[in-house]
Amino acid sequence: MRIVSNTSDSAPQTITTSRWLSFWFCDAPGGASLFAIRAGLSLIACWYFASHFADAGTWFSGTGLLATERLGDFLDAGDLTDEAKWRISPLYLTSSTVVVRIYLTLGILLAIAAMTIRTSRAPAILLWLWCLWLANRSLLIAGPEELALVFGLAYLMIPRPNDATHWTHVLARRLLQVHLTLLLAATGLTMLSSEIWWDGTGAVSIAAPIGRRVIDLTDLLASPWIHEPLTHAVVIVPIAAAIMIWCQPTRKIAYFSLMLWCIALAFLSSQWMYLATMAVLLQCFKPNHAK
């Protein structure tokens, strides 16, 4: 059966007869859920830019620890230029703290615009570029939060605004879902490479450097009856959920397990921004909106 799309009457479409293509383009619209994700990521982007504001001079000024010239010399001396030369960012062109702070302020304004303006793609694209350039400039100090934020914003600039039924919404949601699944699988499987995730001390190892933690949970985790099951759960949940979340009967339990996983790890590791980003991105699997 050949289906004729209402977008181009002259081009007969066979998309819907292919399960592969219907997976990427013909799913139920998820506009509401994408809006929630965009709002959440915009808030986290505000947080991200604001967190750089106080230390802009410490890191990026002419006398800063990651000043462009110094960083270039360091990479040259270490023969690391090939590793880093594709971290392109216009922020390498400036050594002024004021300019960097203006950049951060504009980033916050763009995040607010991306959250509120729903008639144009421009704020979403600019916000992605703003985050991307700052992440690329933050060589040596960037972490998983930049990674999750940047890929989330990259996919959210795809949907056409003001048209929740457009196929780009479906595509963006699918891209988020598949990428998040890859991230969860990589997280769980890389845990298996370390002994601490087998012998039950992984949870304690996360919480042990209390100088890096907001809350000291080492006393609470002292009992093996607590930290060992917690360790095993931290490993099992991302691996199992990466599969279960794609099955309708187990989607809800996988979704809520992953949300609990994010909360537990946020308390253990204090990586609030990264795990908040993960929790926001997980909304693309929210049972009421996802297939």
């Binding site: 799309s5 209402n6 592969w20 090939d82 100090i141 933690r213 297939k291």
Partner: protein, 308 residues
Amino acid sequence: MDGRRTGLVHATVEVRTFSSGLICCFLFGFPQRPHFLRFRLAKQNRATGATKPAKPATDPLPPIPLRADSPQFELQVSNGPSLPSPAMAWGISTIIVVHFFLVGLSYFSTVASSSTQNLMLGTVRPYLGITHFDADGVTFCFATSDRSEKNHLLQQSSKSRGETEDDWTMVESPGMVGGDRQRRWQRFLAAVAELGNNEQTALAAWLVEPLAIAQSEAQSIRITREPDLMTTVVDDAAAPPYAAAIVRQDDGSARLVQVPPPRLAAEPIGNALLEKTPVDSAPVESAPVESAPVDKAPVDRPTGENRE
């Protein structure tokens, strides 16, 4: 009797469709909605006694696409979401496959990578680097009991070679404990400490030099790892991963001279000869510079022999 047999047949069919749906979920990664739809509707019919599938008033599940060969489906598509042309759809999905292959390649090479992975990642680095889609050394697994995950402390001393712990004072790190600012600070210190551990002290000095200049009273600087619940006595007694004396220049810049870690000696601690040797008069600027450390001259671009 006929009704009971019909019910049994329906139950068997439902179980089969449900099982096949589950298997397809695992094999193909997405559920077979039409099968689930039939299963759910048949279950509702049995409960209500209806002969035809009835749509519930409030459906807790998301809208379920119809089969492509059904007339309702054609109606839904023609009035519903717009679709790309088949050529565009296949083009986009090809790009998607390549994209996720590269992202997966990067994510699954964070622990260790084969030469094939390195070759491929080196080829596609422009794409993954520019877009920040690559993992780039990020450890996803939160903890591996590696020493670089410990809390690092930056300390300074007014002596060119602090001998006791009392000689060292901690340099305050920015931001609140556990916050994002301090996390970046910790990543930076961990990178310097790792360079120091790998005896790449010249590279470490490139990074630390602004900190040395900022501590105007300091004569030496070091990075230590804070003991915690998971460190052993041996770990805690290990030498700091990076320690250097600061040689200040007239133009305000500074050179960092590595202070070699103490070595095991046969002489007992408290040897009278050692006690008489003034610590501060140790030839920091002569002996360490000439012998062990790989120094750097931050004022000018370092020459080749100073690099590691």
